[in-house]
């Protein structure tokens, strides 16, 4: 019995996803059709790509709130540069801008030894402001609407380019986190940065590259969004950050660092997307959708606690990245 519970808890995300799909399939007509699913997957991909990057950061004990702003900025840059550079080079520059934003985040967090929650809150405002500034707060339009249609095409009956990219990224990240030494070091840094540092793991470098990775993926997501819509807008992605964090946490990655998985994030992203889709099909009002998402989040966090409190001091209040020596400058 106890073992069954343990297994259920371990695969809670997969189970909840399966339940969501089954229940939705039963009550929502046409829900489990290829069109619906491929559409849902495509929409999940934007959140998913940012969530993939954030997973690494959360495991390393950091957080990035600026993902949504990077998303908008990268999209704008890639759209504005289309006439002068051509679509693909402009897209690459957009991704590079995402990576650069990540490097700014990481450089400041590591260099100034500041809390990443506060720092990326600040850069979120700044990146967003820059996005408004260079566009005069107006949406910008790309050069080739036909290219957007290619981007939105569905392959193998289910994958769009970006949903395929999201899945590939998740699988690669999963292999990297579980099979490589560098991947293990990310967990070590998130779990106890001091110990990792003293064991010869360059904790600062791990965090720095984590931010670059997260920024680049937010950039990729933003560029793809702009290509699909043939538009770059300074308000794109403004509600994404919270949804992304929710999806990663639903996937079992811990906000305090040291624990998490890429496949969990995949499950979290798909669960949130499946729920949203089902509720939209049933014309559930948007505010009620948010309530349901919130409740799911609470449920999973409580389950997570049940799994992991065995053998640990019960009642300990998780501290959001505050006990990380990288962000507190070595002071407890």
């Amino acid at each position: 019995m106890r073992q069954t519970i343990a297994i259920v808890l371990q695969y809670r995300v997969a189970i909840i996803l399966a339940l969501t799909l089954t229940v939705s399939g039963l009550i929502v007509p046409g829900y489990l059709s290829e069109t619906t699913l491929s559409l849902g997957l495509d929409r999940a991909a934007a959140i998913g790509l940012i969530a993939t990057g954030l997973t690494v950061l959360l495991i390393a004990g950091q957080i990035d709130l600026s993902g949504g702003a990077i998303f908008a900025l990268a999209g704008i840059v890639s759209t504005i540069l289309q006439p002068s550079l051509g679509i693909l080079p402009a897209a690459l520059v957009g991704v590079f801008v995402g990576g650069l934003c990540g490097a700014i985040n990481g450089g400041l967090v590591v260099g100034l030894k500041v809390n990443s929650l506060v720092l990326t809150l600040a850069t979120m405002l700044i990146f967003r402001a820059v996005a408004h500034w260079i566009t005069n707060s107006q949406p910008v339009t790309g050069t080739d609407i036909m290219f957007s249609l290619t981007m939105a095409q569905i392959y193998l009956d289910i994958f769009s380019i970006r949903s395929a990219l999201f899945i590939v990224c998740i699988i690669l990240l999963h292999l990297w986190l579980t099979r490589t030494i560098a991947g293990r070091n990310v967990f070590a840094v998130g779990s106890n940065a001091t110990a990792a540092e003293e064991s010869g793991v360059a904790a600062g470098r791990v965090v720095f590259f984590g931010f670059i990775f997260a920024g680049s993926l937010a950039g990729v997501a933003g560029v793809l969004q702009s290509l699909v819509t043939n538009t770059g807008s300074p308000v794109f992605g403004s509600e994404l950050t919270v949804a992304v964090i929710a999806a990663v946490v639903v996937g079992g990655t811990r906000l305090e660092g040291g624990r998490g998985s890429a496949l969990g994030t995949l499950g979290g992203v798909l669960t949130m997307a499946a729920l949203t889709m089902a509720m939209e099909f049933q014309s559930v009002p948007a505010y009620l959708q948010q309530v349901v998402s919130g409740l799911i989040l609470i449920l999973l966090v409580v389950l997570d606690r049940t799994v992991h409190t065995r053998g640990r001091a019960a009642g300990a209040i998780p501290l959001l990245v505050t006990q990380n020596p990288i962000t507190t400058g070595g002071k407890p």
């Binding site: 099979r179 490589t180 030494i181 560098a182 991947g183 293990r184 070091n185 967990f187 070590a188 998130g190 779990s191 106890n192 001091t194 110990a195 990792a196 003293e198 064991s199 010869g200 793991v201 040291g258 624990r259 065995r310 053998g311 640990r312 001091a313 407890p332």
Partner: protein, 514 residues
């Protein structure tokens, strides 16, 4: 075991140069702005020896070790490792030369496995991909060699503190070091586990490793060390072979004065029983535990780690449930379901894990002390600043907390002074029963005597004290009666006069002595 040695270690003697000295630090001086932490210290350790470093907190032991580990740069002086002059600019430099530290504060990663912790920073692999099998094999070999029954695949956070300590030592050992520095390695180990640790240390010593052993426990120093260096006030007082030095001589060298009795017990009038524990069980960790503690009495609660001592204390304090049995406080049966109820009933508990449970590190001494009694210091919900300050001043003075600044953040104090602040915090609540869990763990001789003094004052004023301790001399010196626990069961309280260290160990381990 011996034949496995080659599996995890290469021979270390060659390429060492032609010296017997693994380490030779000459004329080390380290000044911080305004403070001279080390002054012209000479310190040399031979290969294949255990070299103890003793001294009160603040004597410069940790500064010296930080210089050795590359965390601090000496202001002047030279360091030779294996006969070659070395510059240790970063911890990585020291590690490259085969110097490994085992810290008092565990430096492990709770969410990784034991094997991953042992090889953290040096995991085996190819093309960046981790070779899990090789890592597991090597870790198993190292743990086996150390005769520890720890599963290398267990998540580290699930181990007990003492097991984690052993993993930390295995980690240092697996790095194939020339010099291992152990800082208070036994502070979380029971006597049993300490004996196991000493077997490991002797094995490492016999393999030619130089071991630097920092400890407050002089008895252990006498047992394990070949040589001892005494530091006092940042200067090296003396290095001597262990043969021909006694504990009292070491203490004398450390404090620079004669200390007649390490464990002063001020006589107190023993009164009526205050707390009576009537065959309590928690259904898991202990069963059928009974004892009473009287006003003016210090009752020792002793046993090996895992015997259930702390669990009994936590249950009495309402931190965990009692499934059977009752508590009688001042003649009345009481039911305690939470720490808040315990405090209200007049029971206070100073936990073992000072950092985790006892103090709030970011708050000042004053804020920590007044925390449990804040309500009584308020008028219509507003804290009366003056009453708050008076209370803190009183305890800072009474316990001679140093530095005597109530506004100092408590995590900036030394271990002994933190402990005093924690005790003060609970005294402010004016309890009739005070439970102290390892109150002198990891504090130096001077602070230990002061803490014993404080406890002595408290019982002289009629308080009943239950003291959990792993140090037999301390328990025998301080306590009036002693309860020995083994595997969750408790002996009846035994008068101190009827006990010896050997007798207690026999009761605690269940091994009868002849």
């Amino acid at each position: 075991m011996g034949k496995d040695l080659t599996l995890v270690r290469e021979e270390i003697k060659p390429e060492m140069g032609s010296t017997d000295f693994a380490l030779s630090m000459k004329g080390i001086t380290k000044t911080f702005p305004g403070v001279k932490a080390l002054s012209n210290v000479n310190f040399a350790v031979k290969f294949g020896t255990v070299h103890a470093v003793v001294g009160e907190n603040g004597a410069g032991k940790s500064t010296l070790m930080k210089v050795l580990s590359g965390s601090y740069q000496p202001t002047s002086g030279t360091i030779e490792v294996g006969g070659t002059e070395a510059r240790l600019r970063r911890p990585a430099d020291a590690q490259a030369l085969g110097i490994r530290m085992v810290h008092q504060e565990l430096n492990l990663v709770p969410d990784l496995t034991v094997a991953e912790n042992i090889y953290l920073g040096r995991m085996p692999g190819r093309w960046g991909f981790l070779d899990k099998n090789e890592m597991l094999q090597k870790a198993t070999a190292v743990l086996q060699e150390q005769e520890t029954a720890i599963d290398p695949q267990e998540i580290l956070g699930n181990l007990s503190i003492s097991q984690q300590q052993l993993v930390e030592i295995a980690k240092a050992y697996a790095a194939n070091p020339r010099i291992i520095v152990l800082d208070e390695p036994t502070s979380s180990l029971s006597e049993h586990e300490t004996a196991a640790l000493f077997r490991i240390l002797r094995k490492m010593r016999d393999a030619g490793i130089a071991i630097v052993y920092i400890s407050h426990r002089l008895k252990e120093v006498l047992e394990i060390a070949d040589e001892v260096t005494v530091l006092r006030d940042g200067s090296m007082i003396e290095t001597r072979p262990i043969a021909g030095i006694s504990a009292s001589e070491m203490i004398q060298l450390m404090v620079g004065r004669e200390v007649s009795n390490v464990f002063p017990k001020s006589p107190a009038k023993i009164g009526e029983p205050v707390l009576r524990v009537n065959s309590i069980s928690d259904g898991a960790n202990f069963r059928d535990v009974s004892f009473d503690v009287r006003a003016g009495e210090i009752l020792g609660l002793i046993g090996l780690v895992g015997a259930g001592r702390t669990e009994v204390a936590r249950a009495i304090f309402g931190l965990s449930g009692i499934v059977e049995g009752t508590l009688t406080l001042n003649g009345k049966d009481v039911v305690i379901n939470s720490p808040a109820e315990a405090v209200k009933a007049g029971i206070a508990y100073v936990p073992e894990d000072r950092k985790g449970d006892g103090i709030i590190p970011g708050m000042s001494i004053r804020e920590n002390i007044s925390l449990p009694v804040l309500r009584s210091l308020t008028t219509f919900g507003w804290i009366r600043g003056k009453a708050d300050r008076t209370l803190a001043d009183q305890y800072v003075k009474q316990f001679s907390i140093s530095p005597p600044d109530p506004e100092r953040r408590v995590n900036l104090l030394s271990g002994g002074n933190q402990q005093k602040a924690v005790i003060a915090k609970w005294l402010a609540a004016k309890p009739s029963v005070l439970i102290l869990d390892e109150p002198t763990r990891g504090v130096d001789v001077g602070a230990k005597a002061e803490i014993h003094n404080i406890i002595g004052q408290l019982v002289a004023n009629g308080m009943a004290v239950v003291m959990i301790s792993s140090e037999l001399p301390e328990v025998l010196g301080v306590c009036d009666r002693i309860v020995v626990m083994r595997d969750g069961q408790a002996s009846p309280p035994i008068d101190r006069q009827d006990l010896t260290e050997e007798r207690i160990m026999a009761l605690a381990t269940g091994e009868e002595v002849a």
